[in-house]
Structures are given as structure tokens and as C-alpha cells.
Symmetry: C2
Subunit: 208 residues, 2 copies
DNA sequence: CAAAAAGATTGAATGAGTTCAGTTTTTAAG
DNA sequence: CTTAAAAACTGAACTCATTCAATCTTTTTG
């Protein structure tokens, strides 16, 4: 009961994911052929499909790993956030956006998002959607925390406000990856302006 | 200079779009083959590609027609909106959402959205993005109008608030089409809750 | 009206993702 | 250790979206 089979499986899975990620970065998603990914991973095309339902699945898997990192980065902000709503949001959103292009190109993001919308039932799309939910929760948690601290007025629905901030930053991130010329700075400016009304209005008068 | 060529072109274009729309509704996007669309439209496969760059383009064209209707429906609300922010938003968003599934299935929406994200440079994707922008403007216009009327406090950035409402309703619509079991009523409830903080806080004290 | 040029159509060929029947490897049973 | 059953692998074959060189139709020119 050594679990040779389990070991081989884990190893092949790792090799396939690595080969795909490398190739996507080198030649882009569209130009990376399954045959090439399989060859690099030293498996057959058929085996590839034993591990991933389709080509998109493996990209979504790669993106999911990146989102995990973004979540971890966000956690440091949520654990000890700046004092004001404006500053806290700026820090968290900046963290998200800055991490987004470290490993992935805009093209990879576009493709991954497209897949997660188009095939919402595939296992990795579900995973991506779940991670999105955790990001949303993170923003809500931030607002809730600020409320407990007194930076956000009592009586405000902190969860609803957090979801709105998240949906806004997420939608604008989609605009960002759709537009090859938009810079991270421009994105941050636009989102900051959009957030300002809500951020200001929910803040406790003394602190804003 | 009768323009026989122009007439034939317009006619073929109409036939192709109609055939594709019908087939998408009948069998879904994925199962509709270009060959079948071409056959119904009584043209060859090659001619299809003379009119549309790829399969996705024609779906986005169909969706664009639907969005045009949604925009027209929204205009009636923006032209004479209810008195309060909450009611006005409810009316406009309700109009949007109720019109969304008249001609298109969730699957068609998912595919269209996926394409507009993945191939942002294709002509029809640009058109879709432009329509999205007009929807966003419509929401901003609504808030601006309410501000001029005194229902929204002066000093509020009405455009920013409008964009935030729009990004929120748009993101939630994506969630809606991703989840085959979510109903329109559930969607409206969730969005209403998310909107409430901002809607309440920007409202003039007397009127809310 | 003839004929050359421009514009469109056509469908067989191409190429990449995906499938699946047959083969090999691993595990479990005797 | 043998052998049967289960699991995983394999790559040739299949399906469509897409392309393009040849052909046909419309318009313009002389």
C-alpha cells in the first residue's frame, strides 16, 4: 500500500500544470497546443484529458493559484488595516491590483474570466468562482472590522457595502484586462473616484 | 446604379443573422454549427465568414439587438423617474433585468459575455462594450437627474455613484447567468440590499 | 454591347481540441 | 507468485471552426 499510483498521479498533475503555465507565459494561451503541453509534461494527449476536462480548465487552474496569492496578500491588510475607510480600501485594492499581473498577462486573465463565465459548471471554474467569493468576503470583512473600530458609522450594512466595493473593483478589473493600453495607475484612479462617495458617506464624521 | 449588390448583401446579412438567432435559441450556441446556420440562410460556409469574423461575432450581434431594447426600455424610466433614489433605481434595474431574458437564454448571455471579454478587439465586441457604456451612462444620468431635482444631496459625485450602481448590477447579472438556478427575483433582492447603503446615504434627508 | 476590373461566393482542405477503444500498469485476491 | 480486476495511459480518428484558391456575378469602362 505504498500508493505508487497516487504518487504518479500527483507527479503527473504537477508536471502538466507546470508545462501548461510555462507555455502559456511563453507563447500565450491560444498558441499553446495541447499536444505541446502534453509533450513537455511527458504524457500523452489523452492523459492530459484525464487530468483536465479541457484546455480552459488548466488555465483556470493556473489563475486560481494566482488568486490564492492575492488572497494571502489581502489578508495582511485586513488583519491590520489603516484607520480610515478610504485608506484601508486603497491599501487592499492596491494589493489586489498590484499582484494581478505578476504571473499572468492580460490575455490570460481575459481567457480565464471568459471560461469561468462560459462554463460555470466545470470543476475549476467552480473553484475560481469560490475564490472570487472569498475575495468579496475579504472586502466585507474589512468594512465590518472598521465598523467595529468605529471608523464606519453604526447602522450601516457593512456586508452590503463591502459587496458593492468588491463588485465595483472586480468589474473595473474586467475593463482593465479588456483594454490592453490601460495602466494599473489609471485603473486605481478610476476605482478610487467611484468608491469615494460610498467610502466617504459610511465613514464616521470625526474620522473622515 | 440600382445597387443590386448592396441589396443582395443586406438580404444575405439579414438571413444569416436570423438563421443564427433561431438556431441558437433552438439548440443552444455550442450545438449550432456554422454549416447549419449557413444552410438555413441559404449561403455557403465561406459566405458566412464574409459577413461575420467568427461564430462568436454573430451571437454578440444578436445580443446587441437585445441590449438596444433594454436601453430603450431604460430610457422611459430615466425620462420620468420616480421621486426617490431607491424607487428610481428599483424601477430602472427591474426594467433591465426583466428585459434580459426575453430573447436570450442564460447560456447565450454567458457566451456573449465571455466573447466580449476574451476578444475585446473584434468589431462586435467593441459594439457590446459600447452598449455597456451607454447602460452605465444611463444609470449615471438617472442619479444626476435626481440630484438636479433635489432628491440627491448636492456635493455628491453623481457620476461616480451611478457607475458604482451600474458596476454592481452588471457584476451581479454575471453571477445570475452563471447560476442556472438563480431566479430574477433573487437577483433583484440581492442587488437591492447591496444598493441600499449608497442609495440611502446619497439621498436628501427630507425625501428619503 | 464587349470585356476588363472589382467584388462576392463557394466548398474542399486545414488544423486544433476532444474522444474512445485498445493496451499497459498497478493493485488486490487467492 | 499468479492472476484477475481496476485504474490509467495512449494516439489515431473525429468534429467543427476557419481559411483560401478557384469560380462566378456585378459593376464600370471604352
Amino acid at each position: 500500500m505504498t500508493g505508487l499510483r497516487a504518487k504518479q498521479k500527483a507527479d503527473r498533475n504537477r508536471r502538466i500544470l507546470q508545462a501548461a503555465t510555462d507555455l502559456f507565459r511563453e507563447v500565450g494561451y491560444d498558441s499553446a497546443r495541447i499536444e505541446d503541453i502534453a509533450e513537455r509534461a511527458e504524457v500523452s494527449v489523452g492523459t492530459f484529458y484525464n487530468y483536465y476536462q479541457n484546455k480552459g480548465d488548466i488555465l483556470v487552474a493556473a489563475v486560481s493559484m494566482e488568486v490564492e496569492e492575492v488572497l494571502a496578500a489581502g489578508k495582511t491588510i485586513v488583519d491590520s488595516p489603516p484607520d480610515t475607510v478610504g485608506e484601508a480600501l486603497k491599501a487592499l485594492i492596491g494589493q489586489y491590483y498590484d499582484h494581478s499581473l505578476v504571473y499572468l498577462s492580460k490575455e490570460m486573465w481575459r481567457t480565464a474570466m471568459a471560461i469561468s463565465i462560459q462554463q460555470p459548471e466545470s470543476p475549476f471554474s467552480k473553484r475560481y468562482t469560490e475564490l472570487d467569493g472569498r475575495l468579496c468576503d475579504q472586502v466585507s470583512t474589512l468594512i465590518t472590522k472598521l465598523q467595529l473600530r468605529g471608523a464606519v458609522m453604526p447602522g450601516i450594512d457593512a456586508v452590503a457595502a463591502g459587496q458593492m466595493f468588491f463588485n465595483n473593483l472586480n468589474m473595473m478589473f474586467i475593463e482593465f484586462v479588456k483594454n490592453e493600453t490601460m495602466t494599473l495607475d489609471t485603473l486605481k484612479e478610476i476605482v478610487a473616484r467611484q468608491n469615494r462617495p460610498l467610502a466617504t458617506l459610511i465613514s464616521s464624521p470625526k474620522i473622515q
